[in-house]
């Protein structure tokens, strides 16, 4: 399923199967921990590792949105996930106001936001045929604008329902609860993608548009649906983010966009579409969070984080995606 046949084998990784990409991602994580242990004292500890897992879970959840959109092909990417989540968090914080009884309204609002944003993205990319990147970037701007307007006259008030805090912020024993969410989501995603018609259509639209069309797949609708799924997921993740942070603020989701895309690339998913291995993506998320921890521990701050992410993404693109022409 995950073999890419429509492009000539060029990169090192192209020849390697998905299994080997796991090993690469896993090796990178181990390498980072070793580097961290050598340069920063007390980098490798159980507490540190569990914290990494917790923060990586959020990246992995956002990366799921990206993976689905990328898998649907048509050079799909969703840059609006960050602000979709932020908008949901900002709006639902006031609705829930710390009451679990209001959770269902918040969930409905979240679904509504996700649906509208995803549908707009999907219609504009699949049917008006605009590049996903431009559409979703502009959508991110619009959502940011809506948040600005909403917060212009008032403070962001309200707190998440306690249930959300338990799910997103608390731990059971030593394990963060969000990890269990991921452990539930991951198998479901894998089954949906690899064992159902839905997954088959998604990968079909991504790997070979014409073939999929000729075998009766409505490629446009599939791609539109991918954006809707991405929007709804991002919106629901906004609830979890809110649960984790305890309060909502204007930029809470925007820093996840870059890592979510990078995680997909690190996870060895083809950027050309038609492929999607969520387990690899989760490893990618853990790798990126470990990298962040290391750079922060070294005192390089934001600058180091973004530079590090940029370089890692660039190098992995060269290894996994580049398609050099032999002249």
């Amino acid at each position: 399923m995950s073999t890419v046949v429509n492009r000539p084998a060029a990169g090192v990784a192209r020849a390697l199967g998905a299994g080997k990409k796991y090993i690469i991602a896993f090796g990178l994580i181990v390498l980072l921990f070793v580097l961290g242990e050598l340069t920063v004292s007390n980098f490798l500890s159980l507490g540190q590792f569990l914290l990494t897992i917790k923060l990586a879970s959020f990246i992995a959840l956002f990366a799921l949105c990206q993976m689905i959109v990328i898998a649907a092909g048509g050079s799909g990417l969703d840059l609006s996930v960050g602000y979709t989540a932020t908008m949901t968090a900002v709006l639902t914080a006031a609705i829930m106001d710390g009451q679990t009884s209001n959770l269902w309204i918040a969930v409905l609002v979240a679904l509504g936001i996700g649906l509208v944003v995803g549908l707009l993205n999907g219609l504009l990319t699949a049917y008006v045929r605009l590049p996903p990147l431009v559409v979703t970037l502009a959508m991110a701007n619009i959502l940011q604008g809506v948040i600005n307007v909403y917060t212009a006259g008032r403070n962001i008030t309200g707190r998440p329902a306690p249930v959300l805090q338990i799910i997103a912020a608390k731990s059971t024993g030593i394990f963060p609860n969000i990890l269990f969410i991921l452990l539930i989501v991951a198998p479901i995603v894998m089954v949906l993608l690899y064992r159902t018609q839905l997954g088959l259509r998604l990968f079909g639209a991504g790997s070979n548009e014409t073939a999929a069309y000729l075998s009766g797949v409505d490629v446009k609708r599939v791609r539109c649906a991918a954006f809707v799924i991405s929007g709804v997921l991002a919106s629901l993740i906004g609830l979890l983010l809110l649960g984790n942070m305890g309060i909502a603020f204007k930029d809470m989701g925007s820093n996840y966009v870059m890592p979510s895309i990078a995680a997909v690339v690190v996870g060895g998913v083809s950027m050309a579409g038609g492929d999607g291995n969520y387990l690899g993506v989760i490893l990618g998320a853990v790798f990126l969070q470990t990298l962040t921890n290391l750079l922060v521990a070294l005192g390089w701050g934001d600058a180091g984080k973004w530079l590090g992410f940029g370089i890692v993404l660039f190098i992995l693109l060269i290894v996994y995606v580049s398609n050099r022409r032999g002249r």
Partner: protein
Amino acid sequence: MEEVGNRSNQTNPAAGGSAPRTVLGSSADGTAPALGRLLSRPGFSRLLILAVMFAITAVLQQNFFEPRAVVRNINAFAPLILMTMGQAVVILSGGIDLSAGTALSLLTCVLTTVMRKGDPVTGVYALLVTFVVALATGAINGVGLGYLRIPPVIVTFATSFMWLGIALFLRPTPGGETVDWFKVFYNPASVGGMPGWARAAGAYLPPALVLVLVGCVLWLVIRRMRTGRYIYAVGSNSESAYESGINTARVQMSASIINSLFIFLTALFFVGQNQSGDARMGDPLTLRAIAAAVVGGIALSGGRGSVFYALVGALILSFVNKIIFFANFPNAYQTLFSGVIIIVAIAGSQLSTLVERKAS
């Protein structure tokens, strides 16, 4: 000005090699009435829209034609115009540059880091160093786009974070110092010890306009060269360009570097204007420049459109922003409106292109 005929290029994609000038009158086959022909030219409709926007702004802004207001408008429009022209070149070559805005931020940070306020000669060093950095950003993007053939969107997304990281290293918070004479890129009259003729010239020919003209001349020259034609060829059909012996990688590299020159010009203006560097200031310009290029008729699929009409697109977007400014909405609405305008503008352009194609 050349206008690459949408239709002829489409019916014969392989003709990309000599596309820019051969197709000028091809849509006019003599059967349609003259007026209809004129209206159906994509370039004309854009000029018409521009004229309308211009007129509305002129009515709304009372002192529109006073020299001071003219200069102020030129200053406000120049950055987007320059960034759009650069972006247009990359898009024409079949790419897109998501890192343009952060590259601009990076250049302002480099400029203000090298310069020392009391030491005029550091301004020269800053110019040289920044020029080299600009070329480097273009070259790195060019390697990714051209030689490694990574999808343009994702590779420039990656490099944008590299530029952001470096810019934040140099300048975690906005600021920095500049030499006094650097204001020459914004307002020569405010530079101490400026000879009288230069002040006078600055009053009639604002530096922002000069920078835009430099950009126009740059593209005029390149378009006449082989590289200019190859950019269209590679953009409209990379495979056939490659098969007819064009070094597509080098062409895309050139396009990327040309773009970085436009970004360099923009950075000069910004630092002249603000006397400071800022690692985040360029971000919004990326998307606005892409949108302006689309409004100007640059096809995002590459190979179709004209850089000078992209300039028209940038003017249209600028005037629209200005008109909305006159409507006096609260500041909080700014991001929202600019986002909506961009979506509407690109969706509108795309739909009109689709309709045009169906009609032909």
